[in-house]
Subunit: 291 residues, 4 copies
């Protein structure tokens, strides 16, 4: 299939590579063009701007924030400028409101939008082990399905409204961060009470906290390995701000959210912009003078 | 083996029954004696007081709070009154400080204490599917091991200091409640933004939140089935107070804990003493006028 | 003096009237023109657009949010469109970042900006009892001083950087709301423990909490008189969002802020958009089932 | 009048001295007897135990916590042991529940209890500038009134139930600490945004935050003068725990309380036991990496 692919960051590059290796023809674009080099070496073609991708059968985009996503869609050389009936698959973690707006615009031009944000870190993207949360029309989702199977281990369809996928992704990130915070508080309590963090983690993950995320983050917290960032704290902050926006719009109080936001601000203030979002655990330890 | 068994509540009764059915001789005691009837019908003998259990090879106790546990150990007819070298296995979720104190007292009389609180609701106790967090001397733990295998699906040893098992149990309950709160906040956000709770839960539990507790509590939250209580809110409040005590003693701030405590107080204030601790989700919904 | 005056809401109208009654010539503008009628009746002249005010000796503006303020300054018929060296006195509670941006634009046109947000409710504006927090160049502040004396009881100069006045105003609103929340929690605790709210308030305000705001809000909380709104909850929410933006930009965690934001969201969700911001006290009572 | 006086700490000693200097005969007792020396030098007589004070016309006690107060009342040589109809004036900041219990015991012996906790730091005690929150029967309060006038600047009667005075005192301390926290958060935000703390404090205290406590604590926060402690953090923690107990008993969620408790735990963990309770401001600054 002829695929346009926009956004070749830590997540986008390995996803695009997996599509190329599965035999698809990719036309790729990235804001800083040097990131296209390894993809071109692997067989991709360079697009001259986002709009240039719109003529492909399908266009994937995976960008870091609302501003970048808005620019790709509505900017001067954006996908929507040439009024082509594009099928756009947005994989970015961006606001449901923007996705809703993009969907309407694509449909008004005879195209369609699928929203398909993913759970998984860069290593999972390389290993094609992503979880894909996909929303859109059945017809468009059916079209995407074989491509999703190449890049992920499982796709969950969450209905016809694209923005629902983004809301669910944001809820997931909020819940991951809540899990990390609760683990950090428990570990700090254990440490200050003379119980080894490893003993605590082993007891919990081998009984009721069997989800791999507890094991993964538990190890990071024990080794205090917050740099280099797997998922940088400012991106975590951005996600908590997106949750916050939805919470404000829908008039939903979320007490855990306030704490998570504060702790990620502390982590950035104390450790710098380049720490992992799990460095909120460092904040918890410092507050207890336990580090 | 001749076993003394003290405390025949929702958890104690099925555990004792499993021991009887495995062929052990039980001498049972409960504050309100009518709860001994079904056990006696199953072959147990009635003890006239806790002290009367102390002559058995081993004594199990599982009680609802520190006061009850203290009374069983140090009270006028308590286990420690006859100065018998008892091996006492306490399965209660009580304060690490009390367990430490009980351990010292038993050892000073030539006996020993194993602390073995469990994860699992009454149904898991009936099905012998409990997870047992056990701490004590290797020798005493080896002695208990075959009995633990009868009543649980897995035993995790967490070291020689009995109170460590209680700290870990309390951390586990704190983390379960944090998981329920985060799920409740996410579900409320979804509901108020037009995304179905079931869709959210399915997307999360089939990808990254695979631990069964998310599925179990997710269903309770969707059905809003907070009565009858599987684990009553006042017991949850008691556990959060025990965590709070350890946090104060060890000078450990725990921001999530404050929120959990407040929400369980609200749940009791709004719904009564007999709701499940997961009714904190109801509080979250009411705060958003989403119920 | 010839004064342009933009924004004739609950605060702007009485301020403008006080200036007219002191003998100044006002040219007034408001988005919905019917609000100019009483002012014209009092002697003011109608401006045809914001830009039309720019030719006066000095222009006051007092608007409800960043969007309105931005439009007045930078919009198609905004003050800055005619490149006139205007002295603009912004009294709006808006973001420090926008004020900084407006100041730079006015100065680049040979004009100047004074930021002068006020403390006080509409009744205080009518009575010319406002407190004015003013920042800007000494020269411009000296020029404004006689006018400030007409509309307020006291002006506090807080330096040369206009945005500092806005930051201080936002801090003040954050602290007022914190005071209301703490009073609400204390009153609810008293009520649920059998102590009369009035007794509590009297004991506190006649000893250590002598600032009038405790008395004022204390009465509102006792009478539960949250409608009609003196200061509407959505405006309070807007202010907390502005504080939140500054906190995020400057990497400053503010734990009280998260709670205030959540309670004002609850108040709006439960009571509607037209309640006073002090209805956060209602949320506190409902959470305790004390209403 | 013949007065028994129990508890000669930072607050008790200057209060007792003021009573002596006003011409009253004091019989004093303190757990560590060396603290009686300056009082005896000033004319007081030494009691051999608390019970020995019970024969005076009236007995004042001011102790640091529930345990000490319980011991003075119910202990082996406590006031209630000799079954004398004592009029006991308790000025300690202790739990309403204990005060209620003490009142019942005194009344059952034909005596009476007045609860009269005070607002004010040691300097205010020396200067006889305390605020006294008094509760008890009108008759007993009338008897105490002239003595209260010697030691304080104002007495507020809050009804017949003695424990109400303690609840109000606890509410007051909770609100003071909330005021300090909100000021600390605002000052940290200002500092990190380039606005001087002094400017902020001056603008606030000369307009709407006119209660002296804002000025007093504001200066401490600006100078970061947290040692020596005027009111030690562990005493502040004790008070927040008493509030917490009342909140739990009455099923009242108090979100600010959780934050205050955490911050005072951090302050103690980071700075040691001998800091002032206002060192919660240091915690706020460290969390923002602003110290």
């Amino acid at each position: 299939m002829k695929i346009g692919f926009i956004g070749l960051g830590q997540m986008g590059a390995p996803i695009a590579l997996n599509l190329i290796q599965a035999g698809h023809e990719l036309k790729v674009w990235n804001r800083s063009s040097e990131k296209t080099i390894p993809l071109i070496a692997a067989g991709a073609q360079a697009a001259k701007d986002p709009q240039d991708c719109a003529s492909q059968d399908i266009v994937f985009s995976i960008l870091s924030d609302d501003q970048a996503a808005e620019n790709i869609a509505f900017g001067p050389s954006g996908l929507l400028k040439n009024h082509h009936p594009t099928l756009h698959v947005t994989m970015s973690t961006i606001s449901p409101a923007l996705v809703d707006c993009m969907a309407a615009a694509h449909r008004s031009q005879g195209g369609d939008l699928v929203s398909a944000p993913v759970f998984g870190r860069p290593l999972a993207a390389q290993a094609a082990k992503l979880f894909i949360i996909a929303a859109g029309t059945e017809k468009s989702l059916d079209l995407c399905e074989p491509l999703f199977n190449i890049i992920g281990q499982r796709t969950i369809r969450v209905g016809a409204a694209p923005q629902a996928a983004n809301l669910i992704k944001l809820c997931g990130n909020f819940m991951i961060m809540s899990a990390v915070e609760s683990l950090a508080e428990a570990m700090t309590l254990a440490k200050k009470s003379g119980v080894d963090k490893k003993t605590l983690l082993h007891a919990l993950t081998s009984t009721i906290f069997t989800a791999p995320l507890y094991e993964t983050y538990g190890q990071i917290l024990i080794e205090q390995k917050f740099k280099p960032a797997g998922f940088a704290a400012p991106l975590g902050l951005k996600d908590m701000k997106l949750v916050s926006q939805v919470a404000e719009t829908s008039r939903t109080p979320m007490p855990f959210l306030g704490i998570l936001r504060d702790h990620i601000l502390s982590a950035i203030a104390q450790e710098g912009e380049d720490v992992d979002w799990s460095a909120i655990a460092q904040v918890v330890e410092k507050d207890a003078a336990a580090h």
